[in-house]
Symmetry: C2
Subunit: 547 residues, 2 copies
Amino acid sequence: MASAEPESSQTPPPAGENDSELANLSKKQAKKEAQKAERLRKQQEAATAAAAAAAASAEADPFSGNYGDVPTEEIQSKAVSGRQWTEIGSLDAERAERMVLIRGAAQAIRPVSKKMAFLVVRQYVSTVQCVLVVNKEWVSPQMVKFATGLSKESIVDVEGVVSIPKDPIKGTTQQVEVQVRKLYCINRAMPNLPINIEDAARSEMEFEKAEQTGEQLVRVGQDTRLNYRVLDLRTPANQATFRIQCHVEDIFRRFLLSEGFVGIHTPKLVPGSSEGGAAVFKLDYKGQPACLAQSPQLYKQMAICGGFGCVFEVGSVFRAEDSYTHRHLCEFVGLDVEMEIKEHYFEVCDVVDRLFVAMFDYLNETCKKELDSINRQYPFEPLKYLRNTLRLTFLEGVEMLKEAGTEVDPFGDLNTEAEKTLGRLVREKYDTDFYILHRYPLAVRPFYTMPCYDDPTYSNSFDVFIRGEEIISGAQRVHLPELLTKRAEACGIDVKTISTYIDSFRYGAPPHGGFGVGLERVVMLFCALNNIRKTSLFPRDPQRLVP
Amino acid sequence: MASAEPESSQTPPPAGENDSELANLSKKQAKKEAQKAERLRKQQEAATAAAAAAAASAEADPFSGNYGDVPTEEIQSKAVSGRQWTEIGSLDAERAERMVLIRGAAQAIRPVSKKMAFLVVRQYVSTVQCVLVVNKEWVSPQMVKFATGLSKESIVDVEGVVSIPKDPIKGTTQQVEVQVRKLYCINRAMPNLPINIEDAARSEMEFEKAEQTGEQLVRVGQDTRLNYRVLDLRTPANQATFRIQCHVEDIFRRFLLSEGFVGIHTPKLVPGSSEGGAAVFKLDYKGQPACLAQSPQLYKQMAICGGFGCVFEVGSVFRAEDSYTHRHLCEFVGLDVEMEIKEHYFEVCDVVDRLFVAMFDYLNETCKKELDSINRQYPFEPLKYLRNTLRLTFLEGVEMLKEAGTEVDPFGDLNTEAEKTLGRLVREKYDTDFYILHRYPLAVRPFYTMPCYDDPTYSNSFDVFIRGEEIISGAQRVHLPELLTKRAEACGIDVKTISTYIDSFRYGAPPHGGFGVGLERVVMLFCALNNIRKTSLFPRDPQRLVP
C-alpha cells in the first residue's frame, strides 16, 4: 500500500524562499504568487501520489483488477460485452443475495476506516448505499482507498451483491445495500465542484434548524444555480420538476388526441411583427424583415381554416418584453389549442375544464413520488380544484372585489394585485384554487377576440387562474373578415401586414375559439413554486441568455 | 318567389354615358373605368336581389324558416341550445332513418332541376351527399334555389334524415345520403376562390387521362398552393399528410416515454453562433449577440450531464442555409434523442432500430385510410424495411459503390448522388429501403463526435437512410472535456464561446450518444413525396416567409 502523503523529490521549494525575486513584489502580489505555487505544488503532489499508488497497487495488490479508472478506449465503443446493468431504482428486497452491476454518480463517499467505506451512488432520482469492506476474496485496503479517493459526482460502475440491512437506511431512496466486489471509475468529476448537490437540495426548514443550532450551511442562490445548471438539475426536486413537466405535456397531448385534435407545428419565423402586439425579437430573414412568433395564434386559426377541425400545438413562444418578474420569461413553451365551435365559447371552456381536471387528477395519482420530492425541498399545499370548474363572469369578479373593498374598472383589466385578491376571495367562497373568469371587457383583449352579441364593450373571452395567478387566456375568435379588419384597425394594426391571415377567412371559415397556456407556468403554479426559472430547463429572461 | 334578376331603381347608369368626363380619358382608362362601374353595378344588383329575395321568401314561403343565412349574433355565443351535431365521418347505414344535424363545408353544389339539388358537405376528411327535393313538408323551390346559390366552401348546417341509396355513391367517403329538411349557411365563402379544392386534389394520372381526351384541367403549382395554403390544406392528401405527421410525432414520443426517456425543452435563443457550424439566423437579444439554435445538440447533452439519463425533444430547428432543394427548409421540427450509453454507440442504433420499425409498423397498420388518401393523389410504393435494421459500415458502403463503378473518397462524405446509388444497391442486395451506415470518417462529422478507439480518422457515428436519402444523424459524443476542447479547436471553433458547454463535462459526465431527425423528412420519405414543402404546414425556405 502506498503512503497517503508520499515524500516527493519533485516538490518545488516553498514560495517566498527566493529573496531576489520577492524583493520586487508587493505583499499582495507575493501572497498571490505563494497561493499559486502552493496550488501547483499540491496538484503535482496529488498526481505523483496517484501515479505511485497506481503503480504500487498493480504490483502489490492481488485484487487490483477489481477496481480502477477505466481507460479512455474502453468507453469509446470498443466492444459490446453483453453485460447487463441494473437500474438503481429497481433495487429492492427481491434482489437480495443477487449479483448486480450498476452505474451512477458517486454522490457521497464516507470513509469509516482504512478497511471500510460507504459510497452512495445515484442514478436519476434513485440512490443506493454501497458498502466496501476489506475481505479475502474481493476487496483490498487499496480498493477502499481508491473508493475514498474518488471525487464526488464521478461516474462509477459498481458490481456487488444486494443485501438487506438490519436498520432502515436514511438518506437513500433504496432500502437495500450493495456489498461491493468491483468498482470502476468511468469518468472523474473535478475535485471542487462549483456547487454541491446537497447544498442545492436543502429546504428552507433545514436552514431554519441550522440557524437555531448555529450551524453554517451554504445557501445556493437562484442565479448561481442557473450558472451551474447541470449540477443544480441533479437535485431530487429538479429531477422531479422536469419529470412532472414532461407529464403535463404528455397529458395535454394525450387528452386532446383522444378527443380527435390534430397536433400541428406552425412557423416561429414570421414576417413583420406578429399580432402587432407586445415587443418582438426582430431579425433579418434573407433580406426581409422578420420576427419570432409571440404565439401561434394566427397560424393555428389558419389551420382551422385549413379544415383540421380542432388542433393543438406544443412549441416555443418568444417575448421580448422587459418583464423582470417571477412569472415572465423571454422564451417559453406554449401549449395551444384551437377548435371549431358550434355555438358558444363555453365549448372551449369545457375542454379547458375537462383537460385540466384530468391533468391535476393524473399528477396527484401518478406522480406522488415526484411531488414528494418537490415538497421536501419546497413545501406546498396541494391544489384545490372542483370536479366542474367554477365559471364567474368578469363583472361577478369585479363585484366580489368591490364587496371586499377593492374597486376596479369594469372596462379595464385586473392587475396582478386584484387577481391575487380575487383568487383569495374565490378560494374562501368556493373552495377552489382553479377557476375561469369570462366575458372580459373587449378593450383589454386582442383584436381577434369576438365581441359579445349583446354588448360590444364585452367579449367572448376568458382567463383561467391557478392560485390567484392568470395561467390561460382564451376566447371565441372573429371569423368574419370584415369585422376582423375593423377590429384590427381599431386596435391600431396595419391591416396590410396581416392580409394573408384576414384573407384566410374569406374562403369559408367556421366559427372557432381556443386558448393558450405556458407549460412552465402550469408546473410552477401546480407545485406553488415561487419562480418560473425553476420550471424552465435553461431559462431566458431579459438578463439571462446563458447557459 | 322573387325574380332572379329584379329591376332596381338604384342601378347606376351604365359607365361611358357621361360624355363630358369620357372625353378626357384614354381608351384604356375608359375601359378600366367601365369595368369598375360594371363590377359595382353587379355587386349592387346582387345585393338588392338578395335582399328582395329574402324579403319575398319570408313573405311567400311557408318553409322560409327551414333555410337561410344565420345572422351574425347567432354565431357570437348567444346561447347554448343543447343541439347535438353528428360527425360526418360517423354517418353510416346504422343511422338510416335517423335524423341528424351536421356542419361542414359545401364542397360541391349540383342543381338537378328547380325542384332538386345535391350538396356534398365535407368535414375534415369525410364527405356526404345531401339531397334536396321539393316536398310539402320541408323543402320549397326557394330553398332549393337558396342551396344552389351557395358559394363553394361556405360553411353550412344541414338537418335531415339519413337514407341508403340503391347504388354506391362515387365521390363521397360516406355511403349514405342525407335527405335535407333544414339548411343554414353559417359563413359564406367568396364566390371565386383563388384555387379550387378539386383542382388541388388531382393526381398525375387524372392529368394524363385528360390529355388523352383533350380535356383542359387546371394544374395548381406548388407555389400557388402555398400562397393559398388554407385552401390547399383541405385536400384529402393534405389532410392525411398532417394527420400522419401528428402520428409520427406521437409514436416517437410514446415509444421513448415507454422506455423511460424524459421529454425536455431546450432554449432556441442561444448566445453567439451555435455549434460554430452552418449559417445561423442572428438577432439582438437585449443588446447581446444571439442566434437561433440550429439544433438542441449542446443543450440535450447538457441535460444528460444534468442527470436525466435519457431525454428527447420535439422542437423548432432553424437553418439559415441557402439550400434551394426539395429536402431543405429554413425552419423545421427536430425530433432529438440523447441518452447515456454503457459501452457502445450501437446502444443508440438499437433505439433507432426499434423506434422506427415500431413507427413504420404502426403507420402501415393504423393509418391505412390516410396512406390511401395520399396514394390516390401521389401514388407510392410502400417502404421496404427489415425486422432488424441493416447496419453497414461506411467502408462497406464505399466498397459496394466501388464494385458498382462509383469511386468515393473513403475519408470524405457521400454526396447526394452517391447516397442515392448506395440506396439502390442496398435495396437490390438486402431488400430494404431503410438502413444504418456507421463509422463515418471523423473529418466529416461535428466536433462533438467521439473518434473510434482503434482509428482516430473514423468516428463512432452513423447516418440512417430512407429510400436513398439521409434522414437521421447520430453518434457517440465526446464526454471528456480535454478531448472535446481539442476537437473543437481542430474544427476551428472558438472554445471560449462554448465554455459553459465544455465545463458541463467537468462535473462527472456519463458516456452518451444520440441522434436527430427531421419530422417533415420522415413523413416525406415514408410517403415518397417529392417535396418537403408538402410536409410542412407553412414552410419556410430561403424565398418564402409567408403566409
